[in-house]
């Protein structure tokens, strides 16, 4: 059933200090509202118990993509459309651009934000695997000031994360060192457009004379959180890509992920597809 709209408040603070004061005074009472592409769906379904929302749309500090010599800083309000249009992201962070292009429709991409995707904390979200592969950091802001956290470890359990009720996610930072890495991203869903992932895989590796010097592997929809597969990475790092090594890595991956049966797919299917995607990625490295 639809929600009773008059019961919902949505404030639009004009400045960061105003926003932080509000959530500082009443932590947990005011829930952030960015593009609304997750929240409005819950509202329509009558599944939004929270009644008070704080729109971030006027916070200039949360917008824009800034590039320095060693990092790209994306404001939390950066939309999927903005990600795809950015030349440095296209050149150096293609996995994030692909994730953005495969997220919803153009209308969703015009409204949905990267920060919203991170804090909504769906295990099936499509950008977080790319963020994990790129060693992203997240910047949290409260009245007390700023703190940076590695994105790996930010999600601690299903919809649980290291953000306090008086904090907002302000930005996501990507170190600019992926250029020499071979990169791979594939989202598997029911159909080509507008599907929620059954499995989503992002990988990157730095090769040296046929040996994997360093590697990142991350997957969506195979665990309660989007998972960086560190054990699988360790099984591959330092090795050459051989059929035996691929088989071994697939075995490690099977023990590292914990896919479930749900409305979109089955645990068995997800396990098999995750392993096949790992293989496809590793084959790409050997080329």
């Amino acid at each position: 059933m639809r929600a009773y709209i008059p019961a919902y408040d949505l404030r639009v603070p004009g400045s960061l200090s105003e926003a932080l004061a509000l959530i500082g005074r009443e932590p947990g009472v005011w829930q952030p509202f960015a593009g609304g592409t997750d929240l409005m769906v819950l509202l329509e379904a009558g599944k939004l118990p929270h009644k008070k929302f704080l729109s971030l749309t006027k916070l200039a500090d949360f917008r824009g993509i800034e590039c320095t010599a060693d990092a790209v800083l994306l404001g939390a309000l950066t939309t999927y459309t903005e990600i795809q249009a950015h030349p440095i992201l296209q050149a150096e962070f293609p996995l994030l651009c692909t994730a953005a292009r495969e997220t919803g429709s153009i209308a969703t991409q015009n409204r949905g934000t990267l920060g919203g995707n991170v804090v909504n904390a769906s295990p099936a979200a499509d950008s977080p695997p790319a963020l994990l592969v790129y060693d992203a950091d997240v910047e949290l802001v409260s009245e007390r000031g700023l703190r940076w956290l590695p994105y790996h470890g930010f999600h601690t359990g299903y919809k649980k994360m290291q953000i306090a009720p008086n904090e907002l996610l302000r930005a996501i930072r990507l170190p600019r060192r992926a250029q020499q890495w071979k990169q791979y991203y594939r989202k598997v869903g029911t159909r080509k457009a507008q599907a929620i992932s059954k499995v989503c895989f992002a990988g990157a590796a730095r090769m040296e004379n046929g040996t994997v010097r360093d590697i990142r592997v991350a997957l969506g929809s195979v665990a309660p959180i989007v998972l960086r597969a560190v054990k699988t990475e360790a099984a591959i790092r330092g090795n050459r890509i051989t059929p035996d090594n691929i088989a071994a890595a697939k075995g490690v991956l099977a023990r590292e992920i914990a896919p479930i049966d749900d409305i979109r797919s089955t645990a068995r299917y997800r396990l098999r597809v995750a392993q096949n995607l790992l293989q496809e990625f590793l084959m790409l490295l050997s080329r």
């Binding site: 008059p6 409005m40 729109s55 459309t81 429709s105 153009i106 209308a107």
Partner: protein, 167 residues
């Protein structure tokens, strides 16, 4: 009954005309357009961002109005299907839909036309893949899509139609 909040004033420009309405802050732009402004061309299909029947241009960008809270319409410029033709003169996209049979029951059509316009503004000469991507957010229960696709291909040929600032 839950507590209720006060309505807010919303001023925006819709299809070139100034509009002022009062609405609850979380009301959907879709409902404001249809029920307050009586612009019922914009349709509701799913109410959850999946079908595109409610698509409008908000500050030039295509959005699903069922997912936009009223408060964000304040100060904005909106274009709905009612603002696509100039008087009796249909736009190139609309004419192409007529000529190619791109509409049957018509429920998806306003959103399809808006999506096609947004597409042509981004890619005046779209390839097949771009057309499919541009329409991927719009569902149709009647046509089987082929005629909609053909309508957009035709519109590209007839139009040169450009909407400044449309994404």
């Amino acid at each position: 009954m839950s507590e209720t909040v006060a309505k807010i004033n919303i001023a925006c420009i819709v299809n070139g005309a100034r509009q002022r309405v009062q609405a609850y802050p979380m009301a959907r732009l879709l409902d404001i357009l249809r029920e307050e402004m009586h612009l019922t061309g914009t349709k509701e299909g799913c109410g959850e961002g999946e079908c595109g029947a409610c698509a409008v241009l908000l500050n030039g960008a295509i959005v699903n109005s069922c997912l936009v809270p009223a408060i964000e319409a304040d100060g904005s410029e909106i274009r709905t299907i009612e603002g696509v033709a100039s008087g009796d003169q249909l736009s190139a996209v609309q004419s192409a839909f007529l000529e190619c049979g791109g509409a049957q029951c018509g429920i998806c059509t306003p959103g399809m036309v808006i999506a096609a316009m947004a597409l042509l503004a981004r890619h005046p000469h779209p390839g097949d893949a771009e057309i499919r991507e541009g329409l991927a957010g719009n569902l149709c229960r009647c046509t089987g899509y082929q005629k909609i696709f053909a309508s957009v291909v035709r519109a590209c040929k007839t139009s040169g139609e450009k909407l400044a600032g449309t994404r």
